[in-house]
Assembly symmetry: D3
Homo-oligomer: 238 residues x 6
Amino acid sequence: MRPSGRQPSDMRAVTLDRNVAMKAEGSCIVAYGNTRVLCTASVETSVPGWLRGKGKGWVTAEYGMLPRATGSRTRREATAGKQSGRTQEIQRLIGRSLRAVVDLEALGEVQVTLDCDVLEADGGTRTASITGAYVALADAIKWMEERKLTKGQVLRDSVAAVSCGIYRGTPVLDLDYLEDVEAETDANFVMTGSGKFVEIQGTAEGAPFSRAELESLMTLAEQGIGDLSAMQKAALGA
Amino acid sequence: MRPSGRQPSDMRAVTLDRNVAMKAEGSCIVAYGNTRVLCTASVETSVPGWLRGKGKGWVTAEYGMLPRATGSRTRREATAGKQSGRTQEIQRLIGRSLRAVVDLEALGEVQVTLDCDVLEADGGTRTASITGAYVALADAIKWMEERKLTKGQVLRDSVAAVSCGIYRGTPVLDLDYLEDVEAETDANFVMTGSGKFVEIQGTAEGAPFSRAELESLMTLAEQGIGDLSAMQKAALGA
Amino acid sequence: MRPSGRQPSDMRAVTLDRNVAMKAEGSCIVAYGNTRVLCTASVETSVPGWLRGKGKGWVTAEYGMLPRATGSRTRREATAGKQSGRTQEIQRLIGRSLRAVVDLEALGEVQVTLDCDVLEADGGTRTASITGAYVALADAIKWMEERKLTKGQVLRDSVAAVSCGIYRGTPVLDLDYLEDVEAETDANFVMTGSGKFVEIQGTAEGAPFSRAELESLMTLAEQGIGDLSAMQKAALGA
Amino acid sequence: MRPSGRQPSDMRAVTLDRNVAMKAEGSCIVAYGNTRVLCTASVETSVPGWLRGKGKGWVTAEYGMLPRATGSRTRREATAGKQSGRTQEIQRLIGRSLRAVVDLEALGEVQVTLDCDVLEADGGTRTASITGAYVALADAIKWMEERKLTKGQVLRDSVAAVSCGIYRGTPVLDLDYLEDVEAETDANFVMTGSGKFVEIQGTAEGAPFSRAELESLMTLAEQGIGDLSAMQKAALGA
Amino acid sequence: MRPSGRQPSDMRAVTLDRNVAMKAEGSCIVAYGNTRVLCTASVETSVPGWLRGKGKGWVTAEYGMLPRATGSRTRREATAGKQSGRTQEIQRLIGRSLRAVVDLEALGEVQVTLDCDVLEADGGTRTASITGAYVALADAIKWMEERKLTKGQVLRDSVAAVSCGIYRGTPVLDLDYLEDVEAETDANFVMTGSGKFVEIQGTAEGAPFSRAELESLMTLAEQGIGDLSAMQKAALGA
Amino acid sequence: MRPSGRQPSDMRAVTLDRNVAMKAEGSCIVAYGNTRVLCTASVETSVPGWLRGKGKGWVTAEYGMLPRATGSRTRREATAGKQSGRTQEIQRLIGRSLRAVVDLEALGEVQVTLDCDVLEADGGTRTASITGAYVALADAIKWMEERKLTKGQVLRDSVAAVSCGIYRGTPVLDLDYLEDVEAETDANFVMTGSGKFVEIQGTAEGAPFSRAELESLMTLAEQGIGDLSAMQKAALGA
């Protein structure tokens, strides 16, 4: 029995609210249950040095957590003087995931930065960030298209993410914090709207897992991300 | 004529929404027009080293700005590896302002940290932070009182803040971003609910100002903070 | 056709040389073809603060690359003033992988640090590090057992790792640098000697991948890690 | 009664010694009683990036304290690896204060850096720094004028500063360290030679203060800065 | 011919002014010609961690240069965020040199920190620092003796330093800045009052040097340090 | 009697193994007894900013120690966030020593970086680094000459280094770790193949030393470096 009373294949309530940051070219507050992340997309005309003059753009991400997104206050990374290894790992994952569906040549020599700032943390902040950042990115691309700033079709597909895990012996979809702490195995899946994998990260937190267990998590993820992709599509009004 | 069409002594629309962060002991989203700041109060049982064992508590503040709170993206301080001088100056001001109305002995050996994170910036983020942080602090003190964790009356008064300035030759209340950029003189006032000054910071951005001009700004500030104090009282349901 | 002329399911020549660092409690130089990593295990009697007094130990890893392990010189991280996100991601992975086969209570209140320093880099440095670090760890545990410093059976299993990828449309085992740069999909697998998964990280570098493709990579990994586990066993003389 | 025996409106003995650093374009050791600060002005031909090519100059300041300027040794900021929030706040104030009397266009594309290094600290280091830095700046401008490097009248006015406070219930001028520690209210005033305000920073250290109290501090400051301006004029031999 | 017109074996004018910092337990401004360094000695009751509880003390040094001690402004190390390699090398040398004449057991569990801050730099700042720091240290030890804080004779000897070099083919004593820049060989000597060597650092800046050349520099140094030791003795009133 | 049973004028067994790093333009593992250092030479086409466009090159060095080169694990400098003062001092010494035998104009606008990474530390790591780095450098110059990248004879001489010390009253050559810890005086000598001095650094660790003692160390060094130079010649000439 899951702490929330959900069935193994139930996701939490998901919402995607667009246009929540007045100044950003795209923005979205994504909620997976009590986890809430503010995602903004910023279009900037300078690209990293190694890309300059190549006619290609870049998509990158930064991740942060407000100090009191968590049960006890987390130290602010700006005060600590650096981003933790965990933060860097997450923001690298978000950036890679989004780039997987972007045609960087069509984007033109432009950088889009996705800032994912966690307002409330209850498990799944990195997967929610990816799902919400895609919506903010899509809006920013639309903003660019309206100004004829792109060089063709930028988005090749949509992308969304969810975590799955073995909780008390049962494979379950979309772990919340209480489940995450206790799960034997924890896996994050990033998939496209067309059902292909962009990233899979599975970790044995307790006992190592079998191939069969991994297969069952994949099946849950395929279903969950199918639903998330539909919600993204609906939110974007397409 | 002000860009917003306001009269010289008009404040922007102010809102104070409490209990916006599930996990914090107190929280508030304060808006001064389009400026919005999320303030959370965190009660922690450890105090700074130099206070340990003295039976007194501490109130401190940290300030941050989400990268896309601003018109063009601002670099994340966690990435830059340090807080800017401006950020440190602001968070020191917020902390001092709140401590001015707190009885640190009544607080007991506890630290309350006020995190003020700017969601949208349109001028006045430091003054809005003080006004909102007071509400979050008051809720955190209430939370402590309900658990009998305090040693007497902690809050001696309320505290709020507003900026004033000379804009195109006219003293005006509560500068927004467009006014702030252009103002000849910019002053921040922090006052208690009982009408006394906690902090006054006036700066000649263009031409130096006369004592008479400063007096007129003080008068505007007294009126504005009077209104803000009433709103705080109302929001806190007293 | 692979650049090295290998068959899709061929690993590079693997060697595991033990006792290469005179002062370490365990050490190993692991080679996967031209990739060579020096792994040392250091037994220290202090554990991280949050574990103190709990009677449990800790296993952690640090990863580094000599500046000229690479084709063009890489900037020394000590000069740069911090470890890159990539370095942190890798050392966190190595640490997690080893802890998956360690009984931290049997270890006692001791920390074992595995330092993995890449002498030559030709693809697969993180997977070679895991395989070599296990050997160094096993020797350090033996060193502890000889001194009766453990509290029971510390190692529950062995652990080894390999990368697989889709190279020019074909699933191949153990990518070298030339393949790694070009691979459409790149996946790292960490498995135990008993054939269970500890970690799986698959990333679409080019096009997203299908479940069937992932399955074929898993099958290659199971075979490769089976061989690596046997080599570890042989090297450790068991 | 003040610890030094001074009357409430008495300043400490003030001296301004020019040309104390052989290599600087302008320099001054300023003393307010036992507080002594070495101020140097350095003329450099490069301006900050955002000013380049605009034909305008910049005036900025840096502040430091020798480790043994204080009663017990203060940690060197170069060792600590960063400037404290207090240091940054002070040097930003000094820079703003000087820029208030400088015509940056007449300066031409040149940066003048004022270094204020406290040799002995006995209260009022930031106000003494401003008063002394103005003298060093005036000498550096003279140096530039002699070389025909300016584009018109650079200095529009002089600038000086003093602190005032409520000490044991009485408004007093120019707090020394013993008074500063105990003062209920502490205010720093920066004014021009022509009697206008450039900056005012008043802080309630103990109880909040009334408008009447602030007015009395202003009156003291106007008198004190009048005297300081005359001394600057005399020192500069005008 | 030396730029200053000095004979090869002439030192610059040397002065040692004591008691120049009101708050320090010992202090001295040392001048070697135009090079001037403020040296303060601070007695602190805490020692480094690794010495705690051993009944022994420690003597250490820190070195800094005011930004405008040099012909063109040098960047402040506190702003740069770290001390340069050169600074660290110099302060390590000063500390070692002083410890060579101190009985750390007689000192008791106390740390004396010598801060050497260069006010004007014209070559020889590190050697002047050692000579001046010894005087400040001697005064601090006297201060301790007057309070009966020592456990016996702390100073076993005096210590002073000078640089020598091969300038345009001729061995010369006490290089000034113009000579230092051009010297083929540059050597720093640290010697005790009784004529023994504490440290010798010789570097070929241009062509490598012969043993005979090094011998001639040693002879110059012995003479120069003999004079410096006498001046220290005189300054300390012994 | 020396701990190793060596005679006072005996060096440890020295080996110089070339071409140990596949990708470097020159490389060498140097051993002085149990001390082993991997030296690589990297030829890069960019020079430091202050040398750009002057047609001259630069030779520089970086030094590091693997965490478990030492008896107990040493903290990784990349984790600490900076290089220690000791590390910086050593790498500056290595760079200076090599530049003393290089014609930077003949090198052309190229930077050669010598990385000296200590694999095992048993005393003398800095002197071994210099001796080994010279061999790596010579190979890198040969590599450049084969590609006609130099502008004349780059190497004017060879360079090697050794430490000497007063151990239990006797001057001895090539201190190992046990001797180094206990030596009263410790001196590092860097000399050219033609028998001239490049650098000499002598430090009294215990009692100050006499000129006669220094002379005896010099004589030992001349002999030892004579042998090392012959070994370098043999290693390179082979």
